[in-house]
């Protein structure tokens, strides 16, 4: 089967409250940017797919409004996932692989500022046994953090390092929401939100949008001599029965890593969709990433646009490979409580 390459990516600066900008106004500049970078327009796009969640901003059919940001006349081939746009990318890759399109535009947008993200995320849980208890997303993540700490799979020091490092890396990411450096003392004096997670272990409420363009093997070389190939992509989901899961491990990530034969690859860089500090050392060990530089963008801890941050991990990996002429990159996207649903993407730069 023919390969698919990422040929363009653009990200809106992540904002704490986009206020002035509605979804369309957030999205339009990044779509225009990703087109302008390649000197193309919507006319050159064979398939368009977006990721967003209407509950975030409380606006019904916001994804339809989102379409107003792109040229839809004459009518276009288009689809949407009520998920992170990483899954819109997955659908788009299938379209291109099937030969239905030579190019695809993928975009995601999210405004978490208008609503209460903690309450909203409660509603994605089992509506019989879990949602009626209104568990917030931080408390659920904290359940996994405690298991990992208790079983000594990770340490509190590693959690702190994940936060402190993310701030250092953010300095070189012009789109990061949080760029202040953080001292260990400041971290240690930070209040707990839901123990064992401090407020600083959690990602900031973020608004933003991102767009990506992929192309078929034949088409990719029209845009670049060094396409970034999507060498492998796999996603799997764990049971919605939270109490039946073993939170000390991730069978989904292990299966995907095996299928993609990641153990044979020396990665130069990785961007992981680790929204909470404990998830970074956990996945680092699970994926045997050892000395591989992780989340050089700062990752979700310095800006976490819901429905976008997974696509951003893939986009940031792409940018690293392009900018630093690196060979192998690994990206991870997730959704659901306690890393329930995971996607792994292996990117490789054409030499």
């Amino acid at each position: 089967m023919k390969k698919v390459a990422i040929v363009g990516y653009a990200q809106h600066k992540i904002l704490p409250n986009a206020g002035a900008l509605n979804e369309v106004e957030l999205l339009m500049p990044v779509v225009h940017k990703v087109f302008a970078d390649l000197g193309i327009s919507q006319d050159d796009i064979g398939f368009t797919c977006s990721g967003s969640c209407d509950y975030l901003q409380g606006a019904a059919f916001a994804f339809v409004e989102g379409l107003s940001a792109i040229q839809t006349h004459p009518p276009i081939k288009e689809s949407h996932v009520e998920m992170d746009a990483a899954w819109a990318l997955y659908e788009s890759i299938l379209k291109v692989k099937m030969g239905d399109a030579e190019t695809a535009l993928v975009y995601g947008f999210g405004k978490s500022s208008p609503g209460n993200l903690d309450s909203i995320i409660s509603l994605q849980m089992d509506p019989y046994y879990i949602s009626p208890l209104w568990p917030d997303r931080v408390s659920l993540a904290a359940l996994q953090a405690r298991v990992l700490l208790e079983q000594k799979i990770i340490t509190a020091e590693e959690m702190m390092a994940a936060v402190v490092e993310s701030r250092k890396h953010a300095a070189s990411n012009p789109n990061a929401l949080i760029t202040d450096l953080l001292s260990e003392d400041l971290y240690n004096s930070n209040n707990y939100k839901s123990s064992p997670l401090r407020a600083l272990d959690c990602p900031p409420i973020s608004d933003g949008a991102s767009a990506m363009i992929i192309a078929s093997e034949d088409k990719a070389f029209e845009y670049t001599d060094h396409p970034i190939w999507i060498e492998g992509i796999d996603h799997r989901i764990e049971s919605s029965n939270l109490g039946s899961r073993d939170l000390a491990t991730s069978p989904t990530i292990e299966s995907s890593a095996k299928l993609l034969q990641l153990e044979n690859i020396n990665f130069d860089v990785a961007e992981l969709h680790t929204q909470f500090s404990h998830e970074l050392p956990f996945l680092q060990k699970l994926l045997n990433l050892g000395d591989v530089p992780i989340n050089l963008s700062g990752g979700p801890l310095v800006g976490n646009v819901m429905m976008c941050a997974g696509l951003d991990a893939i986009g940031k990996t792409y940018e690293s490979l392009v900018k630093n002429q690196l060979k192998h990159g690994l990206a991870h996207a997730t959704s659901g409580p306690c890393l329930q649903h995971n996607m792994l993407v292996h990117l490789e730069r054409q030499s």
């Binding site: 879990i130 208890l133 209040n191």
Partner: protein, 149 residues
């Protein structure tokens, strides 16, 4: 509507829906039993007990219909301590969300623990159900769990 400093219009907006959910044959029995202060699990052919009652085994995909009583005591598998409850939380004083493996069960149940300090809790500690005075045959018929004396 009100105007912000940047002259943008803002308005509070409430999204509210009342759904009627069908609990199905297994969960209906679970909820009915809760009204009688009993907690039910379901048992697989391999004698693995899922509690709260699950309709299927996510690993083997086996349909589960064999109901069995579990709890009301159990042990903490993990917990998180909510320092400042928000408006949506059902308890308005600091409390824990916890995964609790009920006696006789092999899987854990998410619920709340109240009536204690954070420092009183540990993985493996025993807790037991405290029942609501106004049962509605829902998961909140268990008001929360408390540490066993």
């Amino acid at each position: 509507m009100s105007e912000t400093k940047t002259n943008l219009l803002e308005a509070p907006f409430e999204l509210s829906y009342k759904y009627k959910r069908s609990s199905g044959p297994v969960m209906s029995k679970f909820f009915e039993a809760l009204g009688d202060k009993k907690i039910l699990g379901t048992k697989s052919k391999a004698q693995k007990v899922f509690a709260p009652a699950a309709e299927f085994d996510p690993q083997t995909r086996e349909t589960l219909t064999d109901l069995t009583e579990v709890g009301p005591g159990g042990v903490i598998e993990s917990w998180s301590w909510v320092h400042q409850p928000s408006d949506h939380h059902l308890l308005q004083i600091p409390f824990a969300f916890a995964l609790i493996k009920l006696d006789g069960a092999d899987t854990a149940m998410l619920h709340m623990i109240s009536g204690c300090q954070e420092s009183d809790l540990s993985i493996g500690a025993r807790v037991t159900a405290t029942w609501s005075d106004t049962p509605t045959e829902s998961i909140t018929d268990i008001k929360h769990f408390t540490l066993e004396l």
